[in-house]
């Protein structure tokens, strides 16, 4: 089962969120970033070549022109292979774990997999980024030493940077699966996770985070009213 929705990122570019529902325990989200436009490519190429031509008129050395072409090609290839991300995918499998894949414009894919045993929770955090306040989705990892503590925060969708409405969609589905996983898991601490919600204030970094829902009926409320402000 697959559906597609259109959102926007923090700068106003268009994003497409594709959700694939394989089974009640397996879900995949694919967020596609805005593509590289012909206009920006032409602008960069023209700038580089004009600069090279200017240098050529000063130095009268034809190597500069061929060097400029070389630099443009290599730079474009390097940008497509190492910098420009085409789409980011989040795959959640109930008892296995969470996998994040970033696919670059040249086709290269870089994958990280986090086992479910290390995942504490998935939350939305607020952060101050330059002159803006943005929201981002992140995974909280368990601390091996302290059972209810957090050892690391792994942010998701860092290149796409979607806005809050898109994040809420992903967050809801993740919480469905995590709740199902915790209820059917064999660990005795499954029921105690609710107590630790308040312990996480000290680990969330900047700003507020979302409280997990203890009652299904609260889901229908306006999302804005549920933001809690921490210290």
């Amino acid at each position: 089962m697959e559906d597609e929705q259109s959102f926007s990122d923090i700068c106003g570019g268009r994003l497409a969120l594709q959700r694939r529902f394989y089974s009640p325990s397996c879900l995949e989200f694919c967020l596609s970033c805005p593509r590289i436009t012909l206009r920006s490519l032409t602008a960069v190429t023209c700038t580089v070549w004009l600069a090279a031509y200017g240098l050529f008129t000063l130095c009268e050395n034809t190597m500069i022109l061929s060097a400029a072409i070389f630099i443009t090609l290599l730079g474009l290839l390097g940008y497509l292979h190492f910098v420009k991300i085409d789409h980011e995918t989040l795959l959640i499998i109930d008892s296995l774990g969470i996998q994040m894949t970033s696919s670059y414009a040249s086709g290269k894919e870089s994958t990280t997999f986090i086992e479910m045993g290390q995942v504490n929770d998935v939350v939305i955090n607020e952060a101050i980024y330059m002159q803006k306040v943005i929201y981002y989705l992140c995974i909280l990892l368990k601390d091996p030493v302290e059972p209810h503590g957090i050892s690391q925060v792994v942010p998701l969708f860092q290149s796409a940077k979607p806005r809050l409405d898109c994040l809420i969609e992903v967050y809801r589905s993740c919480q469905d699966i995590l709740a199902h996983q915790k209820a059917t898991s064999t660990s005795p601490e499954g029921g105690d996770k609710i107590i630790s919600a308040s312990n996480r204030r000290s680990h969330s970094g900047m700003g507020a985070y979302w409280h997990r829902q203890e009652d299904k009926s609260e889901q229908d409320h306006d999302p804005a009213s549920r933001i809690g402000h921490s210290v």
Binding site: S23, P24, S25, D94, S95, T111, E115, A183, I195
Partner: protein
Amino acid sequence: MGLVSRGAAEAGRGAASAVDRPGPPDAVPNPTPTPPAEGADPGSSRSPGMVLKAFFPTCCASADSGLLVGRWVPEQSSAVVLAVVHFPFIPIQVKELLAQVQQASQVGVTVLGTWCHRRQEPEESLGHFLEGLGAIFSHRPWFQLCRERGSKSWSCKATHWQGPASPAASGEDQVMLIFYDQRKVLLSQLHPPTALPDRQAGDTTASAGGLAAVFDTVARSEALFQSDRFDEGPVRLSHWQSEGMEASILVELAKWAAGPVCLFLACLLSLISAASACRVFKLWPLSFIWSKLSTCEQLRHRLEQLTLIFSTRKAESPAQLMRKANMLVSVLLDVALGLMLLSWLHRKDLIGQLADALIPVADRVAEELQHLLQWLMGAPAGLKMNRALDQVLGRFFLYHIHLWISYIHLMSPFIERILWHVGLSACLGLTVALSILSDIIALLTFHIYCFYVYGARLYCLKIHGLSSLWRLFRGKKWNVLRQRVDSCSYDLDQLRLLVVAVQGLIHLLVDLINSLPLYSLGLRLCRPYRLAAGVKFRVLEHETGRPLRLLMQINPLPYSRVVHTYRLPTCGCHPKHSWGSLCRKLFFGELIYPWRQRGNKQD
């Protein structure tokens, strides 16, 4: 989605009954989780609605029907299938084989269930027969995997059969199939993510997780994969090696020859190290010189490495094996590069040309230096503050240069022969040749190094003075006596700085060649599945009503982590100069000691 409230969870745990209460036969994992009170039993590790994971090797996906053999991991509720036993078989012999494998490998291998690969219409008798096997091999849960020939539809069931007393009270669970490549998982070595700096390494092993258990199980069950289909054993198995055991003639020959060769070379090396450790070399002038020359340091380092490689003790852990392999490849590459350099030098007769060019160049350099010093001694702006100091330092430096030129002229008849013998040392490796080059530069430019020391000390004093003046100025006092640093002094500095920088660079290059793990990088390039950072999953074609199928692939380790994990130790501690600190020292005027070896007593 709502969560169970805390009170209900505690009540549920407290009221858990001892007998397993079965869920409905066609249990679908409903999104609203049921409270753990129903059917939760601290003895058995499952609750209704839980999804079991079955790791299935891709090589067995086209095998004939038979029994599934593997290991059940209850903590992860996952079954790792290692092989398929084909019909016909005698149950007693299968149990004997499994007991043998269990003893040899310390892995709890059992019969997990049945595998059915239908070629034509499903036969009723086969179905009943397969279910009857569940009574002979008692394992809970009992897996029944089934695949239709020619299509991609699989079906799997996992039943918890309670026994003949209550045949109806059997529960079924959903199964998730994860395919893995048995050969790659067997050969791969999992590298857990680096621990945070404030944690000890021992803490992370406890949370190693389910995937490490899967890798471990497959790697330790080598005893099960020893027989292939050409063997005439009582039991016929299907696994990754069942088409024929993998082996290589060259590897076998190398293993057979390695014993005597290692013994011989180890004796030879122990003789050499005993000779070098004898008392003659410990006398004061010699020991001082040996400790300062980088050539001796490099030779000693190489001797240690060769002793380690050719030691007759086997490597205890994969990390040690990797280190030995890295050292061997690094030594071989070094020697190969050195021989290439030697052949190039001899072909072009560069040594003769170098020897001929050396004297005129040295004369020219000395002449330029003398001109410069004369100009500095006479000029109003310069290195010194007053005339007397001016003259003293200038004459001092001029005398140095005179001594040096005499020394060069004295050595001139012997230079070619010395260079030729030095060139021969490239047979021992490129690093040795570079070290000798560095030592020659050091000896030839010793006077420049002295100038550098004097100049750097004075420069350092000047910088200190300036900084204190700057502080005074910020305290709102105007100081008329401002010292100006003359641009002319940089010309002399440039030469000194150049020489010292070149020496520093050569040292860093030698360090880099010494510590780069070439074998690990080659392995990462050619066989990326051997060094695994983790795994990645891909969802295969899925139809509603069928079980979820995933493909598990190995995620290779990034190059930066390969270098970081397998970097060879150079003399046991980090190099004294990194590239950044070299630049910083040059800029601020701190002294660089090109002859200071690591591990010696500091200044």
